[in-house]
Symmetry: C2
Subunit: 456 residues, 2 copies
Amino acid sequence: MSRGMPQSVYTSLLQPDVRLMLAEHDVAGLRELCTALYPGVVADVLDGMPPEQAWEILKHGDPPHQAEILSFFSLPFQMSLVELIDRPSLSRIIEEMSADDRVDLLERMDKDHVEALMPLIAQAERAEIRKLLSYPEDSAGAIMTTEYASLPAEITVQEALDRLRIQAPSRETIYYIYITDEQRHLLGFLSLRKLIQAKPSAKLSSLMARDVISVKVTDDQEDVANEINRYDFLAIPVVDSENRLVGIVTHDDAADVLQEEATEDAHLLGGVQPLEDGYLDTPFFTLAQKRGVWLVILLGAASLTAQVLSWLDSSGGSSWMVLFLPMVLASGGNAGSQSATLVIRALALDETEGHVHWIAWREARIGACLGAVLAILSLLVALWMVGLEESLVVGSTVFLVVTMGTVVGAMLPLGLNRLGLDPAIMSNPMIAALSDMMGVVIYYSAASWMVGSVMT
Amino acid sequence: MSRGMPQSVYTSLLQPDVRLMLAEHDVAGLRELCTALYPGVVADVLDGMPPEQAWEILKHGDPPHQAEILSFFSLPFQMSLVELIDRPSLSRIIEEMSADDRVDLLERMDKDHVEALMPLIAQAERAEIRKLLSYPEDSAGAIMTTEYASLPAEITVQEALDRLRIQAPSRETIYYIYITDEQRHLLGFLSLRKLIQAKPSAKLSSLMARDVISVKVTDDQEDVANEINRYDFLAIPVVDSENRLVGIVTHDDAADVLQEEATEDAHLLGGVQPLEDGYLDTPFFTLAQKRGVWLVILLGAASLTAQVLSWLDSSGGSSWMVLFLPMVLASGGNAGSQSATLVIRALALDETEGHVHWIAWREARIGACLGAVLAILSLLVALWMVGLEESLVVGSTVFLVVTMGTVVGAMLPLGLNRLGLDPAIMSNPMIAALSDMMGVVIYYSAASWMVGSVMT
């Protein structure tokens, strides 16, 4: 979406005005807000509000502006709005949305809801939607838009400009123009910059570049985004297996893909199954699950290490505590790495603003949940190798180190950020090192309190 | 830099042709290559070659094309070319480069070399360079270009189009037009899309948006990039403290900043001081240093844990080995996390292609170097607490686990990638878990071999 027009002062200045307009039922003011300001700014202003209030304001706009504003919201917020909007209004908004944004939203919505909307949507748009929905996730087809500017080769510059004027309102961009034949085969490329510099009587066929860099509709979205980024393109054409133009991927969607992929990699590297939405938008249970999966796998690996240690140490008279030391320490470090990774990436994406206490409280609760699950599992692992009392020491230590690791892993980056330092210096290894230190203290304290001695 | 024109087929198809042209001294063919193809593609074709050969080809182009091609190279490759190019040619190329790319390069170059070039560069460009060089690193000023399209408010659409035709060749983009007064105060904004749709007789003042979203020249580059990305802009205007337009930051530079910041965060999170250049472009010693710093800090933290353990365990008769177990295991995990992080990010940025063996060999050597340094330090730490023989066990174990951790941390993601799996599932905690398992085996084997028993 290369929308046009930077406009307006900043969000925080507008919010009080908007609340006042709402309170005074200032219909003219609200319409002005929805139609005259840059849609991205309106979205920013409405973003913090409850969905009911946001729609109360948004409904004063017209469908084209409503559609543009909607597409600047996060998908979860779009979803909560969609639940509120009556079907006739919603179908009009969906018609007006750009093809790629629309498909992102419809893919998320309940199937029955989509099917109920479909009959209300114009025939042409409906066919478009069905086609775009059919491309595999993460392919060029899934992120492209079909609203590209295209012209035939044999017309003149003057004719081209006249036709572009007519195409302009419905096209994602008119700055890149693709030259196609009647079967939509991609023949050439021309930028608007080159077009307006050319003689009005020149033929496009004499101006266009013929070897166009394009991608296939089935190409991976990350490769497509890397290509756009490497060559500094505004957009790249997407063709089918017969070199027919089917869409374009624009620079802003490419940048979003690169950001998403970087976030996904960061999460995985920190031992978290990638979140689909932002860190704050992800529900408690989903977040716990995406972290729990890896913590359990990692606990499995650590219990193998405990087993290996018990074989190696069979000759020696070391304390039983040694066997579980790596497992106990790793559990705390892993939980802490997860929190630190999630928080640091959220900080980089500017998501945490004003939510620090909420984050700390949620991390504490997630830590306790994850700690409880891991405690039970590690208790069972320990029971396999040592007695009940010792196993209880292992279990309760795991509970405590996981809970503490989670909280510390989240709070240290937030604290550093507040101090104006780079939160990312709280690296996974650094969190693990701090957690190790807390871990040994907790482990030995628990043992001396519960078993009385560290020797069996 | 929003350069224009997707063109040409793919790199690998071109390389043999280019070698043939060079061998046959095909001057016309080489000139055609440098001037008719899209500069990004030419850069891709030349990128794998030795710098001497690349310049042998590139010198057949004209300065404007040479400048464009040069700016698509990585900075280290630009630097190695700059060493080869004679001063008169180089000064012409630098004049033609876009203002932001030029400053990136000059900032990297030897100060004396820059001062020797300056007198050869045209007066206007020289003043421009000095001004841009004066902005703080990582500020909007440091990434902006001064080649924006601007027009006065009182002219008509027809006049505006005529003036844009003249401005076009020297502007980074003409798709966003900034309306300024005679003192360059930013008054409004207009997109070319809106301009060509308007009546030729309309005044710009009646069309332009007045509340322009802009950034300050001192704003942080990451904030600027996030702003462009959030609002899907092609460019954002940069103003000084008196709201005078001083430059623009374009979408492609914003995308680069976001990628760089994501890479920096990923490196830090993996416990590596961020690299300035790509993973492959970073020299051996620099890479070892950027990793070594954090490994030593983390070893310091781990030796505190050993100290804590020795206090807690003073009552028990545990083996001396327990004291250093967390330190030994952490060293391997940390080194492995670093390698995995570097390799996974390099894979995401498409940097590793065809260099797998070279990477494995370099990681092995870096692992051995880092292992040696950490071995000596951990030997000293151990000597403080236990005897020489035991300390030698600790030192040699650290050497082995760090070397192995480094190699395994690099090779597992590369292997997964080759199998078509996501390399990022080799997360930092996962590498640490695998390294723990290898670590205990190495530790106990070393002890039984060198000390004969794990008890003292």
